[in-house]
C-alpha cells in the first residue's frame, strides 16, 4: 500500500529560486494495483516517484509505503527500502562498460545474493523481457527499446513488491512502447504493485486502470478508492 496524505514538496527551499513541485497531494494505492500517473512535463510525476523511492523528503505531509512510515524511517533503512522496489526511468541508466548480464545482476549483487541465484534470476529476467540472447552485449550495442528492456529486467530481477516507472516509454516508438507497457502489465498480473508515470495519454487508451492526473503539482482527478 502506498499512502500520500497532503504531501507537499518544494525544491530549493533555502534559495530564492524555491519552486513548489507538489502541493497537497493525497492518494492511496492498494497492494497489487496498477496505477497510471499522468500529466504534462513538469506536472510533478517524477517528484511523486522520487518521494516514493525516498530520493526526496516531502516538505509537508506524510507518506507510508507498506509498513514504513517515512516520517520515522531512519536513513540507515533507506537502502533496504529501495531494494524492495524496482525503479525504471525514461533513459534507463546502464553501466556502459558492463555486459547486459552484469547490468541486470547489479541489484542482486547489492542484495548479497549467491552466485547461482544471480545466474538463475538474471537469466530468467532477461528471458522475460525477450533479451535472453543478448546477455553478453554491451549497452552501446543495444537499441533504445532493448536498453529499456534491460532497465526493466534490472528493476524486476530482485522480485520487488513495488515497481515504479518514470516515463519508461518516453523515447520509444508506439509499437515498442506498447510492448514495454505489456511487460508491466504482466508483472502486475504476477502480483507486483505498479505505479506507471507517463505523459503519453494515447498509450494508456483502452486500459481501465486507475489514473492519477497531476496538474501543476496537484491531483486533478478524484483519488482512487481506498
Amino acid at each position: 500500500m502506498i499512502d500520500f496524505e497532503r504531501v507537499g514538496l518544494v525544491y530549493g527551499r533555502e534559495t530564492v529560486a524555491a519552486r513548489a513541485a507538489l502541493e497537497d497531494v493525497s492518494f492511496s494505492l492498494p497492494d497489487g494495483s496498477f496505477t497510471f500517473l499522468t500529466g504534462h512535463s513538469g506536472a510533478g510525476k517524477s517528484s511523486v516517484l522520487r518521494l516514493v523511492a525516498r530520493l526526496e523528503r516531502p516538505t509537508r505531509g506524510t507518506i507510508r509505503v507498506g509498513e514504513d512510515d517515512y516520517a520515522t524511517l531512519p536513513p540507515r533503512r533507506e537502502p533496504a527500502l529501495r531494494r524492495r522496489m524496482g525503479i525504471v526511468f525514461q533513459d534507463s541508466p546502464l553501466l556502459a562498460e558492463r555486459s547486459v548480464f552484469d547490468n541486470v545482476a547489479l541489484p542482486l549483487v547489492i542484495g548479497g545474493y549467491p552466485f547461482e541465484a544471480i545466474r538463475t534470476r538474471v537469466g530468467a529476467a532477461l528471458e522475460r523481457v525477450g533479451l535472453g540472447a543478448r546477455a553478453a552485449a554491451r549497452p552501446s550495442a543495444l537499441s533504445g527499446g532493448e536498453r529499456q528492456r534491460v532497465g526493466i529486467a534490472r528493476a524486476v530481477v530482485a522480485r520487488p513488491r513495488l515497481l515504479l516507472a518514470d516515463e519508461p516509454t518516453g523515447n520509444l516508438d508506439p509499437a515498442i512502447s506498447a510492448d514495454i507497457l505489456e511487460l508491466f502489465l504482466q508483472f502486475n498480473a504476477a502480483g507486483v504493485t505498479v505505479l506507471f508515470a507517463s505523459h503519453d495519454t494515447a498509450l494508456l487508451e483502452g486500459f481501465d486502470f486507475p489514473r492519477l492526473t497531476l496538474v501543476a503539482g496537484r491531483i486533478a482527478d478524484e483519488p482512487p478508492a481506498r
Binding site: R13, A53, L55, R57, P75, R76, P79, A80, L81, R82, R83, R84, M85, I87, P93, L95, E97, S99, V100, F101, D102, A105, L106, P107, L108, V109, I110, G111, G112, F115, I118, R119, A135, A136, A137, R138, S140, R154
Partner: protein, 325 residues
Amino acid sequence: MSPRRPRETPDDDGIGPRWSYGRGGYALAQSLRQLAARPVASTATLLSLGITLALPALLLFLSAPLEAITARALEGESLTAYLDPATADLDGAALAAELAARPDIRRTRYVSRDEALATFRAHRDIDDSLAVLGENPLPGAIVVHPDTTALGDRSVETIARLLKGLPAVERVQVDLDWVRRLQATLSLARRVALLLGGLLVATALLVIVNTVRLELVRRRRELELATLLGAGAAFAHRPVLCTGLLLGGLGGIVACALALCALLLLRGPVGELATLYGSSFRLPLPPPGEPALVVLVSTTLGTVAALATLYTTSVRRTAHHPGTS
C-alpha cells in the same frame, strides 16, 4: 582517452568470474576494471607512487647495513680510567668487574700497575727513564669498552661522568672526539632521511588522494545508480577503498622493486670502496621483512588516502545537502 571496450567473443556469455559477484569480489573487480580501463594512466600513477616511495624504501634497506658499519667502526673505541696509585690490584679488578656488569658497557679490562710497567719497559727509551725513578710510578687503570649502542648515542658522556665520580678513579681519558663527530653526522643524516622520507610519503598520499578523487568523479553515475538500486554506503565505498588499497599495495611493490634495483647497482661500487679501506664489507640484500614492511605501509597509506577522500567528499555532500542524508 576513451576506455577500451571489453572483448566480446561468440562464447562470451557476459558472465564474469564467480568471485566478482560477491560484495567484496564486486568491489575488487570494479577497482581492477577501473585500473585496466585506463592502462596508461594507471601505469603512470603506479610509477609515480613507486618512484616517490622508492627513496624511503632504499633508506630503510640501507639503514641496517649502515648501522652495522657504524657499530663495527666503533667497536675498538674505549675510555681509560686511571686509578689512585694506592688502589690495590684486587680492588681495581673488582671495580672493573663491577663496571662490566653495566648494560651500557660491553667489557672492561683491568691493567695493573705491574702490567703497565711491563708494557712501558717494552719501549727501550722509557725503560731507561723508569730505571732512574727506582719504584713503579704508573697507576693501575681500567680500560672501558662502551657498548656500541652507547657509543652511537650520547650515553658515552654518562659513562665518563660515572667513572670520574668513583673515589678510586683519579683521572679519565676520553679520546672520542671523532665518535662525537660521527654521532653528530649520523644524527643529521637520520634527521634529513626522516624529513625526506616524510615528505615523499606525504607526496605519495596526495597522489593516491588525487587518483581516488578522480575515480569518484568518474564513477559518480555508477554510484548514483547503485544508490537508486538500494546500495548502502558500504557498498558504494568498498570499491573506492579497494582502489586505494590496490594503488598503495602495487605502488609499494613497484617502490620495492626500484629500491632493490638501486641497491643491486650500489653493491659493486660499495664493495670496491670497502676493499680500498681494507674491509670485507658487502652491501647485503634486505631481509624479506623489510620489503614486506614497505608494502604494508604503502597499502595502509592507500587505505588512509581513500578513507580521507571518502570522508571529505561525504562531509562536503552533507554540507551542500543538509536536508538529506
